[in-house]
């Protein structure tokens, strides 16, 4: 290291020639004590690496062309979705057990068209401007929904009243410092309750290039990427918010897209320009949700039976592991 250091220091004065920087293999850039020199050496080393990489790439490309048709297929780049840790609860489309479960769970009456969804949207105490407006917009997006303000009423007491008045779902938007940041979605007659953290809420006026107001038609629903069992139940929860028969005249579509455990909600109006092309125009609010907990019964924070809770220390250990 000392010899290498001497060599390095001798070179540092003027623009050194890279040929003379052939250090013995035991040399490493981090052993130079002088920060300036170390930095300089490191930059030089980086340049070398880049050159080598470029040369290797060129070589590979040449080989590829030389082989022509017989060349091996291009390597697929690794993405997080590719490398995702396989979740054993991933649902196979043909799984009978899952199908049976879904036929008998709490959403069966909805999917059998026995119940019409009726939604109650409310907030935490004393909602401020943004939350209020967001609630209103959400009410226009979801057909057959009503907004009621909560003036200090306990959730546990309004739930039986809702059930009595035939509501099927309850949405509570939690607010913090004038912005909505949480969503509790509860399927009412004794259904599961999901608690989400909500972020990046954009109201209609903040969306660029938006269209006109959403009309009263029932929108279609797109649920993307809900693969695991948990994802399936959450997806069904979302689906049960909207009427089962969308009105295609309205040409509106509500999308819940799950990507790496973040659920993005968008509301668009689409038009088919041709058979292969469709144009979409965003209307309506947008927000992202992250599931925090899923509870078996209706909202009950103390005695409820939790089906799934996000435990940071256990579940956030791997960057490639997702639960929805």
């Amino acid at each position: 290291a000392m010899a290498g250091d001497g060599g390095g220091s001798a070179e540092h004065g003027g623009p050194p020639a890279p040929e003379r920087v052939l250090f013995p293999p035991t040399f490493s850039v981090s052993e130079i004590k002088n920060k300036q020199r170390r930095h300089f050496m490191f930059l030089r080393w980086k340049q070398q690496q880049r050159k080598e990489k470029l040369a290797a790439k060129k070589k590979r490309r040449k080989e590829r062309e030389a082989l022509g048709d017989k060349a091996p297929p291009k390597a697929i780049p690794k993405t997080i979705e590719n490398q995702r840790v396989y979740d054993e609860t991933t649902v196979d489309p043909n799984d009978e057990e899952v199908a049976f479960d879904e036929a008998t769970d709490e959403f069966a009456p909805y999917f059998n068209r026995q119940t019409v969804p009726k939604i109650l949207i409310t907030t935490s105490d004393r909602p401020r401007g943004r939350t209020v407006r967001f609630c209103e917009q959400l009410a226009t997006v979801i057909p057959n929904s009503h907004v009621y303000y909560r003036r200090g009423l306990a959730l546990k007491r309004i739930i039986p009243q809702c059930i009595a008045r035939d509501f099927t779902d309850l949405i509570v938007i939690n607010e913090d410092r004038k912005i909505p940041n949480g969503l509790v979605l509860s399927h009412l007659p004794d259904g599961p309750t999901a608690h989400f953290r909500m972020s990046s809420v954009r109201l209609r006026k903040e969306i660029k290039r938006k269209g006109k107001e959403p009309t009263e038609h029932a929108p279609e629903v797109i649920l993307n990427n809900f693969t695991t069992r948990l994802g399936h139940s959450v997806g069904r929860m979302f689906a049960s918010l909207f009427p089962h028969d969308p009105q295609f005249i309205g040409r509106q579509v509500a999308t819940f897209h799950n990507q790496r455990d973040y659920i993005f909600f968008r509301f668009h109006r689409y038009i088919f320009k041709s058979e292969k092309k469709v144009g979409i125009q965003e209307l309506g609010p947008r927000f992202t949700l992250k599931l925090r907990s899923l509870q078996k019964g209706t909202f009950d924070s103390k005695f409820g039976e939790y089906e799934w809770i996000h435990k940071r220390r256990e579940m956030d250990t791997s960057r490639r592991k997702f639960h929805l």
């Binding site: 797109i222 038009i271 088919f272 058979e275 940071r312």
Partner: protein, 289 residues
């Protein structure tokens, strides 16, 4: 003696419990009866003094007399007051009998205030408490970053468009949109390449007009900005209808039986058989769903 204590400490700024503000002086001493820094309410400057203090929801009467001035450990005598408001007042009275009026009165006032706020605490705990959950900055930042990256990876617009086109292909929309499928097109082209007779001219015209236009069904919704070819479409559809009839006859005459597709299906354009009847109202070939 108390006068000296007062003149040294209280009157001037030497008392460490004294807090001065623009309009008033406060006393931070925990045994102070009124909270203000006065000659009559300073616990240090009065040899005979009493206070009410509450601990864990129970009120106590503290008394200090001149006899115990030499024993700091035993200085303050404590009496637990009754939970009942009136009985406690009587207790105060009997303990502070023959004491100066000021101290008695202030003690009772203080006791009243304390019981009132205790009642309020008990009432509030029955209502819903707001639980404050502290945010963890590192975690918040991490989540935000991951969300942004997930958004980029999601490519939402593409995904939605793909899904919609899928649904179109799988015929979930039924009869609303009438786009011919590709196989049709190919067969049509073959058919047209073979048979190049009288209807060729007509076809050429049609091709020129409708090379980019497809039949749209949303004539009413003129609000949509995507909808550029609205006007052209309406006129073209009218022309189309007229030509339709002509062409149909022409095609019939030419049918060689080579292609399984017959009649209007052999044309390149999207066919609308129903147009026949609704010739007068081109706009109503919308989705009559």
């Amino acid at each position: 003696s108390p006068q000296i204590v007062w003149s040294m400490l209280g009157n001037r700024q030497f008392c460490s419990y004294k807090m001065t503000t623009k309009t008033q002086n406060f006393c931070r001493n925990e045994y102070n009866l009124t909270g203000l820094c006065n000659r009559s309410s300073c616990p240090l400057a009065n040899s005979q003094y009493a206070t009410i203090r509450e601990e864990k929801g129970r009120c106590y009467l503290y008394m200090k007399t001149i006899e115990r001035a030499a024993f700091p450990r035993r200085l303050w005598e404590r009496v637990l007051l009754n939970k009942n408001y009136e009985k406690a007042l009587e207790q105060i009275d009997e303990n502070l009998i023959y004491w100066p009026r000021f101290i008695r009165h202030k003690c009772k006032q203080r006791f009243t205030k304390i019981t009132q706020y205790l009642i309020r605490i008990r009432k509030l705990t029955l209502k819903r408490q707001r639980k404050l959950v502290p945010l963890r900055r590192k975690i918040e930042r991490r989540e935000k970053r991951r969300e942004e990256k997930a958004l980029i990876a999601a490519q939402l617009d593409n995904a939605i468009e793909k899904e919609l086109l899928e649904r179109l292909k799988q015929d979930t929309y039924g009869d609303i949109y009438n786009f011919p499928i590709h196989a049709f097109d190919k067969a049509l082209q073959q058919q047209q390449a073979e048979s190049e007779s009288e209807s060729d001219a007509e076809r050429e015209e049609e091709d020129d007009e409708d090379v980019d236009k497809r039949e749209f069904v949303e004539a009413e919704d003129s609000e949509l900005s995507d909808f550029e070819d609205m006007d052209k479409l309406e006129t073209s559809s009218e022309e189309e209808q007229e030509e339709e009839e002509v062409e149909k006859k022409a095609l019939h005459s030419k049918s060689k039986g080579k292609t399984p597709l017959k009649g209007p299906a052999r044309r390149k354009r999207p066919y609308i058989e129903i147009e026949y009847e609704e010739e007068t109202e081109p706009t109503t070939k919308t989705k009559a769903a």
